[in-house]
């Protein structure tokens, strides 16, 4: 137990503890550390880039209910006894096991203005002209949200599948005899039965949505403009490109408080129900 706690202490708790005093300094690689009081926090709230980044990170939370509903639906569909179910499970899970880098390379090709997606949409007359999905500030963030959803549903699907195994089959059978529709069964029986899993998955999903970093980092670097800049990406830029460690620490503290707030909200919301 000790080696585990030691590693956690150094690489998990020390960052948390140390970033608090760090946030009140102007520490960077060059020069000494000075105490600057609340200056970093005052700067943060008048920093229009950071505000834009926060807005994008919070917009990202929209995908949480969407991911959860889709992965629940997938899990229910693949919990039936039918041939080939295992193959489908593997196929649906496939995007989860691949790296964000690999996924990003494929999607950046597919989504570029001369790419396959545009060809399909033009060919079927859904679009009348090409859209460069990732370099258009109206679409870029939504496209990233789509890719995150696509990559994430399999992950939660497996957790729900595991949960469904403890739901007795007689329950849905009985409902079906009472002529409940599949949709009624889904919302009135399965979701309440899976509540512990739904709460846990929503929590994880909310946290990773606000913290989102990989997709914008690899695919758009925050652009065009600030349209896909997220809070984590901005903290990274401040810390590792400007080496403004004190300011980066202050921004992380603000982000941590926001994440805490959202997590508490998810927890309380579910308790009330």
């Amino acid at each position: 137990m000790l080696p585990g706690l030691l590693i956690l202490a150094v690489f998990v708790f020390w960052p948390l503890i140390y970033s608090i005093p760090l946030a009140f300094t102007d520490y960077s690689v060059v020069g000494d550390m000075h105490f600057v009081g609340m200056k970093n926090f005052q700067k943060a709230f008048s920093d229009s880039d950071f505000i834009a980044a926060l807005k994008n990170s919070i917009q990202y939370v929209i995908i949480v209910p969407i991911i959860q509903l889709i992965s629940l639906a997938f899990a229910v569909a693949l919990n039936q006894k039918m041939r080939g179910v295992k193959v489908f499970r593997t196929l649906f899970y496939f995007p989860v096991i691949t790296s964000t880098v690999a996924v990003s390379i494929v999607w950046s090709w597919l989504l570029s203005s001369g790419g396959l997606i545009n060809k399909i949409l033009l060919g079927t007359n859904i679009l009348s002209e090409k859209i460069s999905w990732l370099s258009n500030d109206q679409t870029a963030l939504w496209v990233l949200m789509f890719i995150t959803t696509w990559k994430g549903v399999g992950y939660y699907m497996v957790i729900y599948l595991a949960g469904l195994q403890s739901v007795p089959g007689e329950l849905t059978e009985a409902a079906r005899i009472d002529r409940a529709s599949s949709i009624q069964i889904f919302f009135k029986i399965l979701i309440p039965m899976l509540k512990p899993q739904v709460v846990m998955c929503s929590l994880m999903s909310v946290m990773s949505a606000i913290k989102v970093f990989d997709e914008p980092f690899v695919l758009t670097k925050g652009g065009p403009g600030n349209s896909t800049l997220t809070a984590s990406l901005y903290i990274y830029q401040k810390g590792f490109q400007n080496f403004d460690f004190g300011y980066a620490a202050a921004l992380s503290l603000i982000l941590s408080v926001i994440i805490l707030f959202f997590s508490l909200f998810v927890k309380l919301y579910n308790r009330k129900k």
Binding site: G4, P15, V101, A249, S256
Partner: protein, 272 residues
């Protein structure tokens, strides 16, 4: 009859979703097997004789892909082994032993999950540099050698094991360590499989932290090398596609190996 239609319909929808989920990868595979691919020229003019593995040999010959793969194997292997061992050893007392402050300790550990990883990264980078570990594999591996997620997972698995097992071991005169390794550990195999799979995926696919710690690009793992490759050889779609396919295969392999234990392991973790 009605049933048959319903069944066909279900399969049809499932196949459509599969195309969305796996289609991009099949297209990637196809692109990697065609020499001189231009990914914007789809639909490709595919003839059976035009398939070749020249992109794959090219990647090994000109980009030294072999050494990137070796780097990745080293980093992920060490990380998986350490996580399976340390997470279990840390989680076991939290689940089974009685000591003061146990629940508080666990709550503190779990609540640390809210820290954004980029935030921790800044401080961890300073720590690694102070320890003199920058540009070393140890510097890459150490911060990820045990994760809270894995500790949580293993704790849930240990909670499901009845106390009587431990007592019977003690009656036979086995030491606490012996009980742990020869009685308890074999019982949590599915959860170990989950830890192995998730940790392997995480470290095999991680690119940011290795890129921060390692200054020498020849020490890069695959994902980091791939970002570099995509920048340098962006015009050579075939090579990038081949490299991407190669980077996916090992995780696919591990997933297929652990798949059967997988759903059991996840359900074990969620019972608590």
């Amino acid at each position: 009859m009605n049933r048959k239609i319903k069944k066909t319909f279900t399969y049809l929808i499932l196949i459509c979703i599969s195309v969305i989920m796996v289609g991009p990868f099949l297209w990637l595979l196809l692109s990697s097997l065609l020499p001189n691919t231009n990914v914007y020229d789809f639909p490709y003019n595919v003839k059976l004789q035009s398939f070749s593995i020249s992109n794959f040999t090219g990647v090994f010959e000109f980009v030294d892909f072999g050494s990137y793969i070796w780097n990745t194997v080293l980093i992920s292997g060490a990380s998986v082994f350490l996580n399976a061992l340390i997470a279990s050893m840390t989680a076991y007392p939290l689940a089974k032993l009685n000591f003061k402050g146990k629940d508080i300790l666990f709550t503190i550990i779990i609540s640390a999950m809210i820290i954004p990883s980029t935030a921790a990264m800044v401080v961890n980078y300073l720590t690694i540099t102070k320890l003199g570990l920058s540009d070393s594999y140890l510097g890459v591996i150490l911060p990820t050698s045990v994760t809270i997620f894995n500790i949580f997972n293993m704790r849930q698995a240990f909670l499901n094991i009845p106390d009587s097992i431990r007592e019977s071991g003690r009656m036979d005169g086995a030491s606490e360590l012996r009980i742990f390794f020869s009685l308890i550990m074999p019982m949590v195999k599915p959860s170990i499989a989950v830890v192995v799979l998730f940790q392997f995926m995480a470290s095999w696919n991680d690119f940011l932290w290795p890129m921060i710690v390692l200054n020498s690009t020849n020490k890069y793992p695959l994902s980091a090398a791939l970002t570099m490759l995509n920048g340098q050889f962006a015009y050579n779609f075939g090579w990038v596609a081949a490299g991407t396919v190669l980077s996916i295969l090992p995780t696919l392999f591990i997933f297929v190996l652990t798949q059967d234990m997988f759903v059991d392991g996840v359900s074990g973790a969620n019972k608590g």
